[in-house]
Symmetry: C2
Subunit: 194 residues, 2 copies
């Protein structure tokens, strides 16, 4: 990377594939783009929920305009994404890690896990989308597989090797960046198992 | 109502049924209580989405604390409530009106209506919960019935009488206050039609 005087960064390419993370896209942006693409194509209706905040103080500079002057982020009690696809209620959480070796479990709050189990209990489909930034690899880990890991391990993180073996790789594409519904088509709906 | 010096209000009851709206509960509070009740009983997993805001300025008074100092409310592009019940993705909007004669349609944004149609296209169930505050009456109006109204009318509001005839009354109860899943059980799942 070279820092030019105008502050913009550019990548000197020397025939090396530009890793995805160096383009500055994060998983949330990629998923928002992907979900918008699904919506535009009428393939699914899946949205990121707004970030929950507690509003403490609101000003009204004019009659129709409210300006929030003091507010705080809340810990989410559910997952970030949900919607409907092929008649199934979809519910998932997406997280990225810079670790080379494992996905830290502290990223998933206990009430989020409880929420995901509840969704499946009522007939929805719940999963995690995990990105290892260093490898530019994104995986879909079904709740049932994640729960199997938790039942058999006391670890505070999921080893990268375990993810590679038990989650489904979501290949990167341009449109959409994270085509996770293709993975759901070929695994959940076709009943394939790993 | 009598205003006592300490600022608290109380209702003088003279054998008259205390109307619900006089207790100060609004539809959103009632629905949050109802959804929590469903969650506690493991009957359904339905949540209100956080209100979407655009954050402009954030202060960090300490390393782990973020204080939002400037933010604005956004117009929601989806509905307020969604989740899963009996294997079906549930998606609805809830609104109350003080009007005695009609429910004003300006309360439902065009992109919310589009969102509700999209949810049904993908196999979910979408509806409105409407409360006429003056009568303390709450109704569940299925999207298909609402769409039928829109196709046959150019009105800017739905007459109260039409709602009474075409939506399903949700009787008030204490626990939960708005038992809309009972209505869904006896109409959607049992295939009854009005």
């Amino acid at each position: 990377m070279v820092n030019y005087p105008n502050g913009k960064k550019t990548l000197i390419k020397q025939g090396i594939k530009e890793p995805h993370f160096q383009r500055g896209a994060n998983l949330e942006d990629d998923l928002n783009q992907t979900n918008q693409y699904y919506l535009d194509l009428n393939r699914a209706n899946i949205h990121k929920k707004p970030t929950p905040i507690t509003v403490v103080k609101v000003d009204y500079p004019s009659r129709n305009k409210a300006c929030i002057r003091e507010a705080y982020y809340k810990i989410p009690s559910t997952t970030d994404y949900n919607g409907v696809y092929r008649g199934i209620a979809i519910d998932f959480e997406a997280k990225e890690t810079k670790s080379l070796t494992a996905f830290p479990l502290k990223n998933i709050h206990p009430h989020q896990l409880q929420h995901m189990r509840s969704v499946e209990h009522h007939g929805g489909l719940s999963f995690l989308i995990l990105r290892f930034v260093a490898y530019d690899e994104t995986y879909l880990l079904y709740l049932k597989d994640f729960d199997r890991f938790l039942q058999n391990n006391d670890r505070k993180s999921i080893p990268y090797a375990w993810v590679k073996d038990n989650a489904y790789s979501i290949p990167f594409s341009l449109t959409p960046p994270v085509n996770y519904l293709n993975v759901i088509d070929t695994t959940f709906f076709k009943g394939a198992s790993k």
